[in-house]
């Protein structure tokens, strides 16, 4: 499924390109700005980016796909990242992970049917002193259990 960008979104992308194109090493800051604003990086953005930065479309594509952070499809209203790394594993991340997947009815990189939550794995949130940890959008949560997880999910679904 491809999602076409609206004219408004294309205008926004142009504005980000103009604002970033003179920075040294502009591509990552530019991609961040686009994703922060629109939520994902559409292939429609590749051509104008490549022109402005004197790169090939293939190079832009190569960079977007290299980094786990950049998404090539729209996400749900919220992004939930569950930490899978060692410290969290030592504190039961695997069980939490299974619980989250079954509660949401999705696997990693998928979005719930109601469009509320996209689930992603993450490898350490720097909250290892409070494992297991998760991140909902830009907020990190520690010492998660099924109960706290349920509250967090229902809050996200409500908002």
């Amino acid at each position: 499924m491809t999602t076409a960008l609206s004219t408004e979104e294309l205008t926004k992308i142009e504005a980000h390109i103009t604002a970033h194109k003179h920075m040294p090493g502009a591509l990552l800051p530019l991609l961040h700005a686009i994703q922060d604003d629109i939520g994902w990086i559409s292939e429609e953005a590749y051509l104008p980016i490549s022109k402005a930065l004197a790169l090939s479309v293939a190079e832009v594509h190569g960079v977007v796909t290299f980094y786990h952070h950049f998404r090539r499809h729209p996400a749900g209203r919220h992004v939930l990242q569950v930490c899978r790394a060692e410290s969290c594993q030592a504190m039961g991340a695997e069980k939490l992970e299974a619980h989250v997947k079954s509660t949401l009815g999705v696997d990693y990189h998928q979005t719930t049917k109601d469009g509320a939550i996209t689930l992603e794995p993450v490898y350490c949130l720097g909250n290892c002193a409070c494992s297991p940890a998760v991140m909902m959008d830009d907020e990190v949560y520690g010492r998660m259990d099924n109960q706290k997880m349920a509250e967090l999910i229902s809050e996200a679904r409500g908002a």
Partner: protein, 521 residues
């Protein structure tokens, strides 16, 4: 007016510090009491967050952990004057966990408002820079060399020697790059410095710039740290406004500009040459060395790449002198290491100590044993590429060379404890899996060997050709150790083989109904 401190560190926030702070403010208003709320950094006792402190004549008194429901009773107990309450822990400075530490790099962390430049200056901030401004570049580099400081990002390379190479390069442009990618599981000391004392990193980078003649700095910050991003940018703006960054720093002829750049979730970009590629806007493919980044680094220019902790340790060295710092430690590991206790421990948190303490002291005296109450069975030190240590190695002192002797690494100082429910074959499999997910793809042993390795472990535990497959894991590991360009492929064998060597019982075939009868354990 009584000052009430509630941390803004993201681990404290992850346990509800914002709600606690809000409840305290609302309750104070309700009771008509005036308080001054300060959002400080965390003291690093994370099992006690959110930790609330109040100023009293005798010093700061700690109450912890404080949840919103505890707040009314704290007011009833007159906590604003240090009143008795079940959560009252006494004077913060007298807490054994803190008293037993030697906080040099973390001297200010948790004490003040992280983005208050006045607080920073009031607590010895920018004293190192003031001294550095009176010295030549070579003298600054010599002080860092004499301090014995070695890179805290993992490789433990002497910082002064790296700086000296950059100092010796003739170039129209040089760079200072701070590696704030902190991808290792079990580590969070970089995050704490950036969120809880950002000026110390800014000061350290400024001194580095003056020392080697670099006028531009970049902090390459992992995208998983949005709070650190906000704090750093706020601190950078304040430092600029006050003349500590930009042109004519503190009235001198030195210029140093600083910018934060966000990474994008690739573990390998913590490797310094991959990081430089990423900063240049490319895929994070690891570069061949030579040339060293010190000679041809960012945009081909001489570049210092240092970890957050290495750079944040520079101000105290310049303030108190190289000898002061070098006096701490053992052998060739001089100074202190900010150790991060994580995983299955009762008391997790930040412990800065001179090199030389044993793992056992950290796990039991500081860590209080496992959180689950079960025996600690395995400990991974130094992140996902670090070895797993069994109990028989818990008396190893934290020292770079002592760890090398037992085929282990200290890395960035993260310690992750596992209790006896851990399945070490699963952890070995995970190490391969992680390597496969994060490989930059340049070397075949890393890219393909890691995928193969995970499959072979599956065969081992299901009992298929057991002996042959154990040997295959060893051979694969050998190939990765010798045929990888960087430590991602080159060190994945550390967790794998240490698990296999120290916990062989976990690699016996299991009864999944598929078991190969010939090799049944």
């Amino acid at each position: 007016m009584v000052k009430v401190f509630v941390p803004c560190d993201s681990s404290a926030l992850s346990l509800g510090a914002d709600r606690t702070a809000k409840t305290i403010v609302v309750e104070a208003q309700k009771r008509g009491v005036e308080i001054e709320l300060v959002r400080n950094g965390s003291r690093g006792l994370f099992w006690l967050e959110p930790m609330v402190e109040v100023t009293t004549d005798k010093g700061r008194v700690a109450y912890a952990p404080v949840q919103p429901k505890d707040v009314p009773s704290l007011f009833d107990a007159d906590f604003l004057n240090g009143g008795a309450h079940p959560l009252n822990l006494g004077l913060t400075e007298a807490l054994p966990w803190l008293k037993k530490q030697q906080r040099l790099t973390f001297a200010r962390v948790g004490i003040a408002d992280p983005v208050s430049l006045d607080d920073y200056l009031a607590h010895d901030g920018y004293k190192g820079l003031k001294n550095a401004l009176k010295m030549t570049g070579a003298e600054i580099v010599k002080a860092v060399t004499d301090s014995g400081l070695r890179g805290r990002g993992g490789a433990a390379f002497p910082t002064g020697i790296k700086w000296n190479t950059v100092l010796g390069c003739e170039s129209d442009q040089k760079y200072i790059v701070c590696n704030a990618d902190e991808g290792d599981s079990g580590t969070y000391s970089d995050r704490m410095i950036m969120e809880d004392d950002p000026f110390v990193l800014i000061e350290g980078m400024t001194i580095a710039g003056i020392a080697v003649g670099a006028t531009q700095g970049y902090i390459y910050l992992r995208s998983e740290y949005p709070h650190a991003l906000k704090t750093l940018n706020e601190a950078i703006n304040k430092a600029e406004a006050a003349g500590y960054l930009g042109e004519k720093i503190c009235g001198s002829n030195h210029t140093f500009d600083l910018e934060v750049r966000r990474a994008a979730g690739a573990y390998v970009c913590g490797e310094e040459t991959s990081l430089l590629e990423s900063l240049e806007g490319k895929r994070g493919l690891v570069r061949f060395k030579p040339p060293l980044p010190a000679i041809e680094g960012l945009f081909g220019k001489p570049t210092v790449v240092n970890n957050v902790i290495s750079l944040a340790t520079v101000p105290i060295i310049l303030d108190k002198g190289a000898a002061f710092y070098a006096n701490y430690g053992m052998g060739r590991s001089r100074g202190t290491l900010p150790i991060q206790l994580a995983g299955n421990l009762k008391h997790t948190g930040l412990v800065e100590l001179a090199f030389g303490a044993t793992l056992r002291e950290l796990l039991y005296d500081f860590g209080g044993g496992s959180a689950s109450g079960r025996p600690i069975r395995a400990v991974q030190v130094g992140g996902p590429l670090g070895a797993y240590l069994p109990e028989s190695q818990f008396d190893t002192p934290l020292d770079y060379e002592e760890f090398t002797k037992i085929w282990a690494v200290l890395g960035h100082g993260g310690i992750v404890a596992f209790d006896d429910t851990v399945d070490m074959a699963k952890m070995a499999r995970y190490a391969f899996e992680f390597c496969a997910i994060e490989s930059c793809g340049k070397c075949t042993p890393c890219r393909i060997g890691s995928i193969r390795g995970a499959e072979v472990i599956d065969k081992i535990v299901t009992g298929k050709d057991h002996a042959k497959n154990i040997q295959l894991v060893r051979d694969l590991s050998d190939t990765m150790l010798n045929g990888s360009l960087c430590a991602l492929g080159g060190m994945t064998p550390y967790p794998v083989l240490s698990a296999l060597n120290h916990f062989a019982e976990d690699f016996k075939p299991r009864d999944f109904g598929l078991q190969n009868k010939k090799v049944a354990a």
